[in-house]
Amino acid sequence: MNRLAIRNLVQSKRVVLISVGGVTLALLLMLTLDAIFTGVERQITAYVDFSGADIWVSQESVRNLHMTTSSLPAGVAERVGEVGGVAEAVPILYLSNMIVTGEDRHLAYVIGLPPDASMGGPWRLAEGRPLSGSGQAIIDRSVAEGSGTSVGDEVEILGRALEVVGLAEGTASLVNSVAFIAAEDFAQLRGGGEAVSFVLVRVAVGAETASEVAARIETEVEGVTALPRAEFAAEERRVVRDMSTDVVTIMNLVGFLIGLAVMALSVYVATLSRRSEFGVLKALGAKTSDLNRVVILQSLLSVGIGFVLAAALTFALSMIIPSLSANLTLRLSAASLLKVAAASVVIAGAAALMPVRQIARLDPAMVFRGK
């Protein structure tokens, strides 16, 4: 019967093309959307991941960057630096604001860096040089290219014109980018004050783990939350995920329903077109369960082929898209593949339900009535 299922599929090329094509597109929608969000999640924590810090120290209860404000007293970096196991502590300023280039406005994490900061700066410069003093800025290369800005041009950040001295690589995501300016300018533009936003900590080589040092910082320095980098990044991703879950769920549901509708229709049509042959088999002695197996296998094969094609296409897109748009990264995760594979099995099963009922009602005596 397995052979019959495969042969029926191979013979009904048009039906297969429609069903596999439809399912592929629906699953592609689900997989691509997941890959985009996984990519965005990774991109959104790029600054945290590449900051060079082992521990992020913030105002108490602040556990991520996105949509938060953290304010720590000026002397906190010094106190953190004195905690055992800390090799270095660098205070940075942070604000979510706009980079204004002519008429264009680009959302950015603006980072204020102290002179010669060993952490928290751009990790890869595509062009230009590091910050060397006041009135300078480093912006993301893709933001600069998008707005026709070059090294030496001026951009407006926090309401002040700053000279672009460098273009950073890998600091933009679909949502925003990171801009670096001098902490001096940052503090001045914010209206003065000695407060810092975060303290980036490097753990001494051979000392305890980042978690142990972070716990000690929280114990010894009052009013701070200290998180190992991985944990801080995970918190950041969680916030972004929480904000986008509904959209992803709805789009996944749309993909699922499209896939289900296409499959249900095509399996139904395929079964209907072979109704008389199923009747013949029933008359010859095939059990309803034998025939159901054919229908379910056909459905599973169509969806399986669709799933493999969708996964391959998503993988291809994840290779191609970043070269077309630096701000968009697609990342195909194992969790997403598992989720969509499970959805595919459900689609295949549900799509076969109606034809299975149809077969159960098939009267084998129809073969002698020429129906």
């Binding site: 008389s276 013949v280 088999l281 010859l284 002695g285 095939a286 084998p364 005596a365 009535r369 020429g370």
Partner: protein
């Protein structure tokens, strides 16, 4: 294959109820002995198809019993009927009803597999049958690439692959030209006489009388007339016993002739034509 006798006892089939009730088959009884070829003829709407469906365990009678070797198959639960159909009946259809996506070999083998044969064994059996039927060079052909006669031979091979004791054929020659129709008739006769299987044929084709042992006329759901066929031992023509031009008792056997000439030839040298009588006695309407 074990020989089986099919017994139909006072079988009735009604459709609908009350004012809309139609009786398609009315109190029909018949017996089909092993190796016997029974041809059921009758006008359209006479109940032939309904009767054939009931004989093949595809339709339950409203009354009466259909038994195969004493087992009342008409009373078996629905769940057991597929198995009975697989092992006890071989079906041959007017439109061949081959599965369009499978090759000739696969069309035959799939039925053997349904009956529990392993894929290799099923294919071997299918191949042997198709080669026996002269289709050795058509094994991998899809039905659309086969002629009508070839399709019907594949269908007969499919009907035989599980070695059923009974073959039920619905208008097996209707879609075939005269020459191919004869070929199929000869094949069905071979199946009955060499393999001892019973063959029940429903047809409008008068030519099939030539191979039938008995012809039953169904009209308004009832058998009206019975014709018992015999073969002229001289010219080998099929003759109706009741309308034979002549007959002769020889060594305790009755021989039927299409003409006096044939009888004279037989009388001159009986040993030359001596054949056992192939018609079967005792069938009743």
């Amino acid at each position: 294959m074990s020989s089986s006798t099919l017994e139909v006892t006072h079988v009735t089939r009604r459709y609908g109820a009350g004012a809309t009730e139609v009786v398609a088959v009315r109190d029909v009884s018949m017996t089909v002995a092993p190796g016997e070829i029974v041809l059921i003829m009758g006008p359209s709407g006479s109940g032939k198809t309904t009767l054939l469906s009931m004989l093949g365990a595809l339709l339950r009678p409203s009354g009466g019993t259909i038994s195969l070797n004493g087992t009342p198959i008409s009373e078996l639960p629905e769940g057991r009927l597929p198995e009975v159909r697989l092992h006890k009946f071989g079906f041959v259809f007017q439109d061949f009803n081959l599965l369009s996506s499978l090759s000739a070999l696969e069309n035959v083998a799939i039925v053997a597999q349904l009956a529990g044969a392993g894929p290799r064994r099923a294919r071997e059996r299918a191949r042997d049958l198709l080669i026996e039927f002269g289709l050795g060079d058509r094994l991998a052909f899809l039905p659309e690439k086969l002629s009508g006669g070839e399709k019907q031979r594949v269908a007969i091979a499919r009907a035989l692959v599980n070695e059923p004791p009974l073959i039920l054929a619905d208008e097996p020659t209707a879609n075939l030209d005269s020459k191919i129709g004869h070929e199929i008739m000869r094949l069905l006769r071979r199946v009955a006489k060499e393999q001892g299987r019973s063959v029940v044929i429903v047809s409008h084709d008068q030519r099939i009388k030539e191979i039938a042992d008995r012809v039953l006329w169904l009209e308004d759901g009832q058998f009206k007339e019975m014709v018992t066929m015999a073969e002229d031992p001289v010219c080998k023509m099929a003759v109706e016993r009741e309308k034979a031009a002549d007959r002769l008792e020889h060594a305790g056997v009755t021989y039927y002739f299409c003409s006096r000439g044939c009888r004279k030839e037989f009388e001159a040298d009986p040993a030359r034509y001596l054949l056992p009588e192939r018609t079967l006695q005792g069938a009743s309407v």
